[in-house]
Amino acid sequence: MKKNIILLSLLLLSVFAFAQEAIKLNVTYKFSYVRDLENKEAPYTSNMVLSLGKTSSRYCTEKLFNDNDKKIIEARKKEQERLQSMPSSGMTAVVGGPTLTVGKYGVIINEEVLKNFSTKKLIIEAKLGIKNYHAETNLSEIAWTVLPETKKIGNYDCQKATGSYGGRKYEAWFTKDIPYQDGPWKLHGLPGLILEAKDTANEISFTFKEISKNDDTEETTQSFLNSPYSIDTNTKDLAKARKAFETDPKGVMSAQAPNARLYVRNIDNPNDKTVVKIKKYNPIEL
């Protein structure tokens, strides 16, 4: 019996070890995105962190990255286990509440891109309003053309490549010095880490800010947003819901929480309770 338990726990441990790879590097990018075609001068900007494990990675906002550390994850995991094991009546309240977080360019995009190069899976975890969604798809190959142009980004010698993804043509700069076939957002598949990328319409760009190593083995590439309450969906439906949320966040949130009062939290200006309206929505993936 005892032997079985040890075996089982070993097996579980190995499964966990596979699903949660330790982070080796954290790369910070500045993300700039013309979300409103009527307001090209003031694009949406946000700092993003790409956390690289050996064969998997997580890409999320710098805020989400800074707000979550292993202790909070542990506490949350314990809480979830307790909730599942304890008797309780009725539905369980999700901690948090309908806070609509906005910035000077409108509603904040809170999305994670998780890539797994060994299973060839791409997972999107998105928080729209008060609900978390989970969409899984295949990590499709991007047909890059490598070009002989070079430039130095940070201390790294980078080479240019062009390729199409999600209906847009991107120019990317990758470095052989960092041997990850990864990059910001969903971009990947070059023989070195992509440090900079922008689309040819000049609407989307990712620029390199900094890179740091991590030797804390408890920091893994697992999702921050995924929870037992995340709702499974597909990327198509998610894109539709995301468009609705970003163009009418208050309406979508009051549909999700019909009787609750919304609270608008502006991270750029706490006294401003208004939400910047998007006149002509420009999706990242066309």
Binding site: S85, S88, P179, P191, S212, P258, A260
Partner: protein, 893 residues
């Protein structure tokens, strides 16, 4: 060795399959395998690039699961570069004659030597507590803590002051962890200014009793106000002054001291502006951390009228002069013993005018009652509670003593069926109760509890009706100098139990063994006074009744949880003895029963978005003193009521099945349910009506009542219109029986309601909220009788809207409208439209705000309500406060 064999095989196969490719194409292909140098494990996902002379990549690929790669190359290719995370990059010269490369990479512990290590600092643990720091969440314009709470995400405050967090009602509101208000927290949030509070904490799964911590799980959510400075004994206050047209005034002051040791929250106020102070002292949360095990004392209530209150907000028809004094203090001694005092005193003088018409359909006749009355009420309400509590890790002990005194004098001149007379009603109510609870800490896993609750209460009432009243009861019909009905009903109640809980993760068990005792007396007499002589009522000799109900009970309670399945099972066994003594009628009855009253609840979660819930409950009610008296009581000038002998018993089965389905990615939410109630009763109401009085007697007759309801709701966000729409519906069938003038009438009532709502933001400063409700009601007799009872149908349509506008930062304008149309067969169509508007100007000076309110802008002067109950239809109309303007100034220091 094995690898070598596959390599040879691969070379052989490729040479055999693509000979022409190798010979003719300009591009040639290299292939190979990449593996770990020491373990020979193939590396999956390593990048293989061909570089030109300048060292730039011109072709690249990644190794597959077996570590193999295949790559076409052109003439410019000079180097083969192989890299993989955690390994030293290898670069070899491209040898065009060599088609297969066997690459071994050396593991490298340190990656990117020049990059610094930067691990993140640890953050604070949050656990079950969600903290909202006031400085982050308060608006500049917020004055009280209620203003701040209203804007907190996930928190909702309803009209009556109850606070909800994510749709779940909070159990209580604490100040620095203490239940200062004894559950009447509405007032506290309004009078405590935001500067006194540091944060609003929401604590989930709150277990206030320290002995039970980490042993008994709760689903309760509480709100805790954390003090800015827990050592400050400084007195602060908020005050309000308002004047309005026509002739209205409001003034209040709330002195407050809040520190860790001593907390005082008090309020003194006066108004004649339709503000109901009883709302401030309403019990909204639990009290002293323990659940309520008292028995609600039921009384026979005498009244001046037989109409019910209108279904519009009280402030529209409340003509009042009210005052309130409230004092709540909590003190903690050095040894952590908590002493608490809560008292409230409320005076009021209000008047209510109404006009009503009631049609009673009988077999051979329709009797009409018409009333017009002005009632003046002078209630006085005093409540006080004293609590001692020790809440330590070793033991929990609490004792509360409460007093409730209630006095009311109402009087009025009534015009009934063309006859005018004066009435006076005196009511006095006293209640004393003591509640003791002890939970010691026991070394093993279980939890024991001893609880003892006792109460005594008495209710005295006297109704006097003057000489112009025609007493329409034979053989004493006629006019008297005065008709007097008097009742007195003292009651004792005790509930003692010992319980033991076994907390476990999978199956929670609780067993409770207890004893309950209820004794109620009723003394009443109806007398007719003529020329100073008291003439007793001739048909019976009044009441001198005693009713007791004593029971020993054993309650077992289980909560079982599996992955997708949850159940809550309560199985109380009761050994009950009831006695009814009515010596005036030589009645001495008793009855013993063994009762099992299950209460079951099952939930099955198909997945996160779908669940099915089924509940079943059996109730067995044996009545109380209000259903065990034989002498007639004059409830009001036109209603007499009595019960025949025997115990009134009601057996009620309630079942409900509900399915909820949401598709939240499409923003679609729905639920559908079916409920069935079946009541078997051994007595039935028998009404005999004459021109001026209705005489109700409950007689033994086995009968049943059935209610079937189907209900459902849909909510969808319309992506194209950017609007949320909701739809709700309920269809209900009720079957019941009643004797009217000795004919048994089976009634069927059908009811269908439909509700629709829409919520839209027009621009960033305007928000529109719209609600509509449609309701169809029909009533008919299921059997043909000689009764000329028309099948009646009614329809009502309600609309509500709210438009709010926020501009110039300090100005806030809100308009609300309530519109209703009633269509009724027997009466004319009626309706009303109330429109209110308010303008707020915040922050004139530090601590000073002003607001202007206009109520009832369309100056609606009266309101009519229609009601239908079995064979009775009534229409009542009430005058409402016309247009009023109110200017209010708030100041706090």
């Amino acid at each position: 060795m094995n690898r070598l064999r596959t390599s040879i095989f691969f070379v052989f196969v490729s040479a055999f399959l693509f000979p022409s490719l190798n010979l003719n194409a300009q591009q040639k292909i290299i292939s190979g395998i990449v593996a770990d140098d020491s373990s020979s494990v193939p590396l999956y996902g390593a990048s293989v690039s061909l570089l030109n002379e300048q060292g730039l990549a011109i072709h690249y690929t990644f190794t597959n699961q077996t570590g193999n790669f295949k790559l076409a190359f052109s003439n410019k290719s000079v180097w083969v570069n192989i890299s993989y995370v955690g390994y030293k990059t290898q670069q070899v010269k491209l040898d065009t004659s060599k088609t297969f490369y066997d690459i071994r990479l050396k593991a490298e512990a340190v990656i990117l030597k020049d990059v610094t290590v930067k691990n993140r600092p640890a953050a604070k643990m949050k656990g079950d507590t969600l903290s909202y720091l006031i400085r982050d969440f308060a608006n500049k314009n917020d004055r009280s803590i209620a203003d701040v709470i209203r804007n907190l995400p996930g928190i909702e405050v309803t009209d009556n002051g109850s606070i909800y967090f994510n749709g779940k009602k909070i159990e209580n509101l604490y100040i620095e962890g203490d239940d200062v208000m004894d559950g009447r927290y509405g007032m506290a949030t309004k009078v405590i200014k935001k500067e006194l509070i540091k944060s609003v904490d929401i604590i989930s799964h709150h277990q206030p009793i320290k002995v039970l911590k980490d042993k008994v799980f709760t689903d309760n959510v509480v709100l805790n106000l954390v003090l800015q400075n827990e050592n400050s004994l400084k007195l602060s206050a908020t005050s309000q002054l308002g004047v309005g047209l026509p002739a209205q005034i409001e003034a209040s002051i709330a002195p407050i001291v809040l520190s860790k040791k001593l907390k005082i929250v008090s309020l003194a106020g006066y108004n004649n502006a339709g503000i109901d102070y009883k709302n401030e002292i309403k019990q909204l949360g639990g009290s002293n951390f323990v659940d309520d095990i008292s028995a609600q004392k039921k009384d026979i209530t005498l009244s001046l009228s037989s109409i019910s209150a209108p279904d519009i907000p009280l402030s529209y028809y409340y003509f009042n002069k009210s005052a309130i004094f409230s004092l709540n203090t909590l003190y903690k001694t050095k040894s952590d013993v908590q002493l608490k005092w809560n008292s409230n005193l409320f005076f009021d003088r209000n008047h209510l005018d109404y006009e009503g018409e009631t049609l009673n359909y009988l077999a051979d006749d329709t009797i009409t009652y018409s009333d017009r009355q002005t009632i003046i009420n002078k209630p006085l309400l005093f409540s006080a509670g004293f609590n001692v509590m020790i809440n330590k890790a070793k033991c929990f002990l609490t004792n509360s003593f409460r007093v409730l005194l209630n006095k009311n004098i109402s009087s009025g001149l009534i015009d009934f069926n063309g006859n005018s007379f004066e009435q006076i009603l005196n009511q006095k109510d006293k209640q004393f109760s003591n509640d003791f609870d002890w939970i010691p800490s026991i070394k093993n896993k279980g939890i024991a509890e001893l609880r003892w609750y006792s109460s005594y209460g008495t209710n005295w009432q006297r109704l006097n009706i003057d000489s112009s009243y025609y007493f329409d009861v034979s053989p004493q019909s006629g006019y008297y100098d005065m008709v007097t009905q008097q009742t007195q009903s003292p009651a004792w109640f005790h509930n003692v139990y010992l319980s033991y809980k076994f907390p476990s993760e999978k199956i929670f068990q609780e067993y409770r063994f207890g004893y309950k005792y209820l004794q109620e007396d009723l003394n009443s007499n109806l007398s007719l006074i003529d020329n100073g002589v008291i003439i007793p009522y001739a048909n019976d000799s009044g009441n001198d009744a005693t009713f007791t109900n004593s029971s020993i009970y054993l309650l077992s309670h289980y909560q079982i949880k599996r992955q997708k399945f949850r159940s809550d099972i309560q199985l109380p066994f009761l050994l009950q003895q009831i006695k009814s003594k009515q010596p005036l009628y030589s009645l001495n009855e008793h009855k013993s029963n063994l009762l099992v009253l299950p209460n079951l609840n099952f939930t099955y979660n198909f997945d996160d978005e779908k669940y099915l819930q089924a509940t079943y409950q059996l109730q067995n009610i044996f009545g109380d003193i209000t259903t065990a008296y034989k002498g007639v009581i004059l409830l009001n000038y036109r209603n007499l009521q009595a019960y025949t002998q025997g115990f009134q018993q009601q057996k009620i089965h309630r079942a409900n099945v509900m399915y909820s389905h949401q598709k939240s990615i499409k923003l679609f939410y729905s639920n559908i349910g079916l409920s069935y109630d079946y009541t078997m009763a051994n007595t039935i109401l028998s009404d005999s009506l004459s021109n001026n009085i209705s005489h109700a007697v409950f007689i033994p007759y086995d009968n049943s009542q059935k209610t079937v309801s189907v209900y459902g709701g849909l909510s969808q966000y319309l992506f194209t219109l950017k609007t949320k729409v909701g739809l709700k519906m309920q269809k209900q069938w009720i079957f019941s029986e009643q004797f009217v003038n000795n004919i048994l009438l089976p009634f069927q009532l059908n009811n269908f309601t439909l509700g629709a709502s829409a919520d839209k933001n027009v621009a960033k400063i305007i928000n529109i909220n719209y609600n509509a409700n449609l309701s169809w009601l029909s009533m008919k007799l299921t059997d043909k009788t000689t009764l000329q009872f028309p099948q009646t149908k009614s329809f009502s349509f309600d609309q509500k809207f709210k438009v709010s506008l926020n501009f110039l930062k300090h100005f806030y304008i809100e308009t609300t409208g309530t519109h209703r149309i009633n269509k009724w067969q027997a009466f004319n169509n009626t309706g009303y439209f109330f429109l209110d508007a308010s303008v707020k100007r915040l922050g004139i000076l530090k601590g000073l705000d002003a607001e202007l309110n206009c109520y009832n802008l369309l100056n609606v002067k009266d309101y009519t309500i229609y009601q239908q109950s079995k064979n009775q239809f009534s229409a009542s109309s009430y005058p409402t406060r016309g247009i009023t303007f109110f200017l209010r100034v708030n100041y706090s220091f």
